[in-house]
Amino acid sequence: MRRFLFRFANLFRGRRADGEMTREIQSHLTLLQDEFEHQGMAPEDARRAARRAYGGVEQTKELHREARSFVWIEQLFKDLRYGWRNLRRSPGFTFTAVAALALGIGATTAIFSIVNTVMLKPLHVPEPDRLVVLSMASGSESGDGDSASPAKFMHWRAQTSVIQDVSAFLYGFINYTGGEVMEQWRFTRMSADTFRCFGIQILQGRSFTPEEDLPNGPAVAVISQGLWKRHFASDPQILGKPISLNGEPHTVIGIAGDTSAMREYGPASEVYVPFQIDPNTSDQGDFFDVVARLKPGVTLIQAQARLQASAADYRRKFPNTLGPKDGFTAKPYRENLVGDVRPLLLLLLGAVGLVLLIASANVANLLLVRGAGRKREIAIRAAIGAGRSRVIRQLLVESVLLSVAGGALGLLLGYGGIRALLMVNTAGLPLVGTGGTEVSMDWRVMGFTLAVSLATGVVFGLFPAFQSSRADLNSVLKNSSGRWGTGLRQSKVRAVLVIAEVSLAVVLLVGSALLIRSFAALYAVDLGLETKNVVTMGVLLAGPKYSKSAEVADTVRGGLERLRSLPGVTAAGTTCCLPLAQGNYILNFDIAGRPPATLSSSQDVGWATVSPGYFDVFKIPVKRGRVITDRDDNKSPAVVVINERMAQQYWKDRDPLGERIRIGQGTGINQFKDEPVRQIIGIVGDVRDEALDSKPHPVMYVPQAQLPDPVNQFFFRLLPIEWLVRTEGDSKALIPSIREQVRQATGLPVNDIGLMDQVVWAQTGRQRFNMLLMTVFGCAALLLAAIGIYGLMAYTVDQRTQEIGIRLALGAEATQLRNMIVRQGMSLAAAGVVLGLGAAWGVSRLMESLLFGVKPRDPIVFVAVPLALAAVALLSVWLPARRALRVDPVVALRHD
């Protein structure tokens, strides 16, 4: 400890202690000299003899210093100062190296900051480890993803030995009808425990009681803080006041605080009302989300086992609702959200890792070149007493200085870049927040960038440092020109680095080219409907006025008539389910004259309710029979239109026209009790209504006017009816008059008015995100590889100026020499391309899940990428090779 303090003190007393040491060495030398003089030497000889006997004075000082203090800190500062001076002296080199590193580290930081937000950062939920999502176990035959039915919710809520706060919630829209202007608000129906489950504070008043959460319970509502401030001017007397929602008065009982914990399930709601699910329900319609908390002390595995075991009870209670392989499970909240984006994030992380490698190889190459040029400087430093480790340390400090500078720049670049990108397109990534606001700079991102920078600096700096410090004093110092100082070995290493760069660039370019091809394929896909010049908007037809489907149908018919009479409008219709947005509902059906549907007969198909005119708006072709007209109302026979896929799948070579089906029976969805038998009247073309990249499913279209009233209420109480208008020419200009017509016809607020093309565009968000990032990475890789080849060839030409001069003087053709250099450069590039293609051939399979309409080993990509790379390589070889042509033999021979 004492020694430590001593050393520490010495760190600050450097100069004084140095004086002391000089004094002591001087005294020793004097005594030696005295002795030699005493032996009869001349004073001058004696002085020299004394120095010889003493050994190197400077080396002693250095040894002494090392013993004396934290010499490494002192040296580090010195090395840093020296390195800084050195880098400033060659701004071209420094700029190139820092730019390459900033590119590599910046890209890595950008992707890591997303990974950090999605996979690492703590969630906005208290005790997130206990939060689980309840759903059907994977491998289940029935069940629609994570949605759950009222019967399942009640069953899960009873599993009190392992879980608590079991919460059902569903987002929707609600019309606020109490003010002067009618507004459409987002609202959430939730079971009583939901706020507690997500850890959401109630700022004023209270949350729902279990009694309020029972069917026909009192109409109460909790409002959001934002709504309270914005709409009710922070009225302190708001609690207990009634507000009119969908035409019915609800009593405000509380104000909710920060609801961001529920953000992943949709935009924040303005109003929350109790779900009011009947505890004795047998309703099997899956339509909402259920989350819960593990009981304290209960592990996830215990909870999963208990839930799985409970499926047997459920099967007994509700026969024919669970298949033999079906079961229940609990998934960790984050895993459930992140599950499907993990491969994407890992792929992107791998891609940026390659960019970083290329950047590092590039800088290592530059350092090697520079090291060759600095041979004399290094040899001189060694001659005046610097040990090899000291030289290596100095060189490493320089490379780390470069990488940290690159890292700092990269942090800004990458973080800024990714925020800008997410602002435009969050690609549906979970947990990143609206516009990526959750992707923030925190200690993890900073620490990661710092660690990557330091590691990069050491890795790319180590080899060049070893190489450069290997200077042989004599040969370097004697060879004053330093021209022949670069050994074969070094140029080999540089060639290997360039080949590696090129091959990594090929791998990345193959990746980006595959994604570009996928995107093109996605856009070229035949949707089965025409989206151009179609205006869409949503109107929530809810409330007592719209409890019967006939009332909804009347309003719709009136609205559509107004719209069709607008000049410029060629067709208008409505649907429950906008293609490529909400998606259709999934329901089963029975065919008259065949055994009823069972779980294993897989007669679950898409279901949508549409108005007359729907098929005209999208120009969905009628293949056979007819489509729905105004005459298909609740007084005429019940009908249904199916798509071709459904006809093929369930009728094969028989004619489905005239066949009768009954929808939604036998699985306990109560609203379909009064569903009539429907006759198939028409077959329409298939539509990719789920997603651009998923094949059309079987779908049945039911006239909106013929819905049983409970079904009508069930669907339109929560979600708006989508209105569609096809126009001639520019739709945008017509939007105001369209909105006005719909508003007048319905007397209700019109929301989300826009173009169908925008809906399609939004669908490709994830693909655009992938493609953009990979293209940026691929181009960065290409640029870096080009710089690498250019640098190496330019240096080679420079090194061989003398040789070229001699050859020219001896009569060699200049073009021959140029071609020789081009050949050399291109053979490196070719080696890299071949290696890279081999690697890409092997790893492109990893991208399969991100591709659409293109095979991982797409021949076009595997031909185009090498060609593109060859072209770029040729350019970067050509420029330095041309310089060789301009060599003047006379100048070259004098070239130093």
Binding site: E24, S27, H28, T30, L31, D34, L63, H64, A67
Partner: protein, 115 residues
Amino acid sequence: MSSEAGDRMAVLQGTLDLIVLRTLKSMGPQHAYAIATRIQQFSEDLLHLNQGTLYPALVRLEQQGRIKGTWGTTESNREAKFYAITKSGEKALAEETLRWRRMSGLVDKLLSEGA
């Protein structure tokens, strides 16, 4: 790094401290030059000591509190730093001597029997 001629030995790593302590103990306070001369005389020039290497040892020992240096003048009226062994230095010397004896005894034994 340094080239050794003939049968002159380099100072065994770690033994220099022991030799310096022992020299100071038997001869009383000395300056560095005298210590170096003494070591060379004593070893009958078998031990090659680059006199400069003594300094790190002296500084180290002083840091450890085993010797203490004060500036004074030599008989020839030159200024020099005189080092004297301290209490803790004497204790360390005793310990190190014991350890050295054990070590060299062990090596001796190994060399005479082991082959």
